[in-house]
């Protein structure tokens, strides 16, 4: 077990900065997930830590040792690849034993270790199977066992669950979490699936355009996104852009297109006339009849309705032409598409971003995290 640090690493291909000045530290035993859309540089970052990609600048440190120029095979890492990369010419047991073979370990030691790992992945009887005879989930577990067999200092996983269907993916998330917790191994996982990141990670690193957008616990990212990108990528958010009217503070309003305004709570630092964006999560909004007080919400017309089981999701078009998603509990008699409704929300659960998309915080306002609790 060891900690891992990337110190200002960059990767430049031609004129594209695939990874741009990324720094992060993963503590010993910590589970960190690199999250971002495809092409955001998360896989390149992982491959630089693994040693398959040489950073254009910066250092990689594993367990206090600078490994920037150390070959992957000498880094004592375990890696699970996107499509598992199991050796098709070897059995399950041979795959798991491969790393130990390279260390010229004793045959009995190898056998015992393979048995132990087959036990860990709950496939004790499948050692002799050919890897092509396994299901996707089983292949995934064998790939994990193979990576863990050499007792690596760090476990790296590149979209390990991407090839599995939804049900299996959820089951494997639990399995991964169980094994990681049992072994307390430093783990870095790459995914584009925010639900997966939220359920697995101690901390999440959100990346976009080769840069780190935010590092934080799942809760942090959800409640206190540092910028608009994170707000939209982690969980869903409705974003409304407009101009601040009136004095700052509790009584401000945001002017949207079409001459309509909505109530916002702004810090005093935001001047009247400033362009800002407000983010409101769908489940923080409530629907009420069209006649409700105009001042505390906004009116809109329901364009579509979707039942999500416990909740109902509405697409509501405002007079400003903005389309908002609203989720409310499925109870009573839900309004139909075409009806005009009024939307209300708690002003203190909204997030505010400046024109550049950076979060605006105001120490004078109640902490949104505490408030939500």
């Amino acid at each position: 077990m060891a900690s891992v640090s990337a110190e200002s690493i960059s990767k430049i291909y031609g004129s594209t900065r695939v990874v741009d000045d990324v720094s992060l530290t993963v503590e010993q035993g910590e589970f960190v997930v690199l999250l971002g859309p495809s092409g955001c540089g998360k896989t390149s970052t992982l491959r630089m830590i693994a040693g398959f990609v040489q950073p254009s600048a910066g250092r990689i440190v594993i367990g206090g040792e600078d490994v920037t120029n150390v070959a992957p095979r000498l880094r004592k890492i375990g890696m699970v690849f996107q499509n598992y990369a199991l050796f098709p010419n070897m059995s399950v047991a041979e795959n798991i034993a491969f790393g130990l073979r390279q260390q010229r370990a004793d045959r009995r030691v190898i056998q015992a270790r393979v048995a132990e790992l087959l036990e860990l992945i709950r496939m004790p009887d499948r050692g002799a199977s050919s890897v092509s005879a396994l299901s996707g989930g089983q292949q995934q577990r064998v790939a994990l066992a193979r990576a863990l067999a050499v007792s690596p200092r760090v476990l790296l996983m590149d979209e390990p669950l991407g090839a599995l269907d939804l049900k299996l993916r959820e089951a494997m998330q639990l399995e991964l979490a169980r094994i990681q917790r049992a072994l307390r191994i430093t783990t870095i996982l790459v995914t584009h699936d925010q639900q997966e990141a939220m359920s697995l990670a101690d901390r999440i690193v959100v990346m976009a355009h080769g840069r780190i957008q935010q590092i934080g616990t799942p809760d942090d990212l959800y409640r206190r996104p540092r910028n608009r990108f994170v707000a939209e990528f982690v969980g869903r958010n409705n974003i409304l852009r407009g101009c601040i009217e009136g004095a700052g503070g509790e009584g401000s309003r945001l002017a949207l297109r079409g001459g309509i305004t909505i109530p916002v709570a702004t810090p005093r630092t935001v001047a009247s006339g400033a362009t800002v964006e407000v983010a409101i999560r769908p489940q923080h909004m409530a629907l009420c009849g069209a006649g409700a007080a105009e001042g505390s919400g906004v009116r809109g017309r329901i364009e579509a309705r979707r039942f999500l089981g416990t909740a109902v999701q509405y697409s509501v078009r405002l007079a400003s032409d903005d389309l908002l998603l609203v989720e409310s509990p499925a109870e009573g008699d839900p309004p139909d598409p075409g009806e005009t409704v009024c939307l209300t929300w708690d002003r203190h659960r909204t997030l505010l971003f400046n024109a550049e998309g950076q979060a605006i915080h105001d120490p004078a306002l109640p902490d949104p995290v505490l408030h939500a609790l």
Binding site: A50, F52, A85, G99, A147
Partner: protein, 289 residues
């Protein structure tokens, strides 16, 4: 869609297919049949008038000797050109080489040159070499082997490339992340997986060498004719029924070898042409007269 599977559909095309297969198989059937005719003279009879192994018993020693020469040359050519082909394919598929496309087409170039021309060019070259350095490659089989390697390399490259381009590079990274050295990775992961391609390369290179006539006609020393050349010359000047017997043996043994290669090596001769580029098709030149 039961109708779609109906044998009555596309009858015209199927009739043409049947005709083509018959047309292509007929020469072999005739040679095999005629080889069992009891005649001993110059007359060839098909269908045979009886069954006799007389023509087989009459096979002269020179054919066995020629067969030995052909097999020896073929094996050496197969090994050398596949070794070159393997390295070249690794470079072509893996290497981030500048102008990889150009190199690939460069590699296919020998395929575009008629065998007669290749034979003539090498003959010229060996004469030159002999007059400059005194080393005469035409005395033994070395000259022929070098020329055959030259024409066989594109097929070896094609066969290995076809398999290698489907090889997932993540497998090598996986081995490397598990502590394997470059050599251990190649030996225990890469090579076993691309083995069908390597075997196919060996097979095709051997077929190219074994089937060739024009190049060997130019380059094989008079007393070391290859089997096809020996038959080729005797067919023009000295036909005997024993040649039918030799040809039948070649056909049957080739068929057996092809079937065995398919079974043992597990490479699919048929699937390849559909995927690989046309110009690198091994079969394309294997029977070039």
């Amino acid at each position: 869609m039961a109708v779609e599977r109906d044998w009555n559909r596309r009858l015209a095309s199927k009739a043409i297919l049947a005709g083509a297969v018959l047309f292509l198989a007929a020469p072999f059937v005739v040679v095999l049949g005629a080889s069992f005719d009891p005649a001993t003279g110059y007359h060839v009879a098909f269908p045979p008038r009886g069954f006799s192994l007389a023509s087989y018993a009459a096979i002269p020693w020179k054919y066995a000797r020629a067969a030995g020469t052909s097999v020896m040359v073929g094996v050496i050519v197969a090994v050398v050109s596949t070794a070159i082909g393997l390295c070249a394919a690794l470079g072509l598929v893996r290497g981030r080489l500048i102008g990889r496309e150009a190199l690939a087409s460069f590699f296919r170039m020998p395929v575009q040159i008629p065998f007669v021309v290749t034979g003539a060019v090498f003959l010229q070259f060996y004469y030159q070499l002999a007059s400059l350095t005194g080393v005469n490659l035409l005395n033994g089989l070395t000259g022929l082997i070098i020329a055959h390697v030259f024409v066989a390399v594109p097929y070896s490259v094609g066969a290995v490339t076809a398999v290698l381009s489907r090889f997932d590079p993540a497998l090598e990274e996986a081995a490397e992340s598990l502590g394997a050295t470059a050599w251990a990775t190649f030996r225990s992961v890469t090579l076993p997986i691309i083995r069908p391609g390597v075997l196919a390369g060996l097979f095709y290179a051997f077929i190219v060498s074994f089937g060739d006539i024009p190049v060997a006609l130019f380059l094989a020393p008079g007393d070391r004719a290859t089997l096809p050349v020996q038959i080729f010359e005797d067919m023009q000047f000295d036909f005997k029924p024993s040649m039918l017997a030799v040809s039948s043996l070649i056909a049957v043994l080739s068929l057996a070898a092809i079937l065995a290669a398919r079974e043992l090596a597990g490479f699919d001769m048929v699937a390849r042409p559909a995927h690989a580029s046309a110009a690198s098709q091994p079969s394309e030149r294997t029977a070039r007269p």
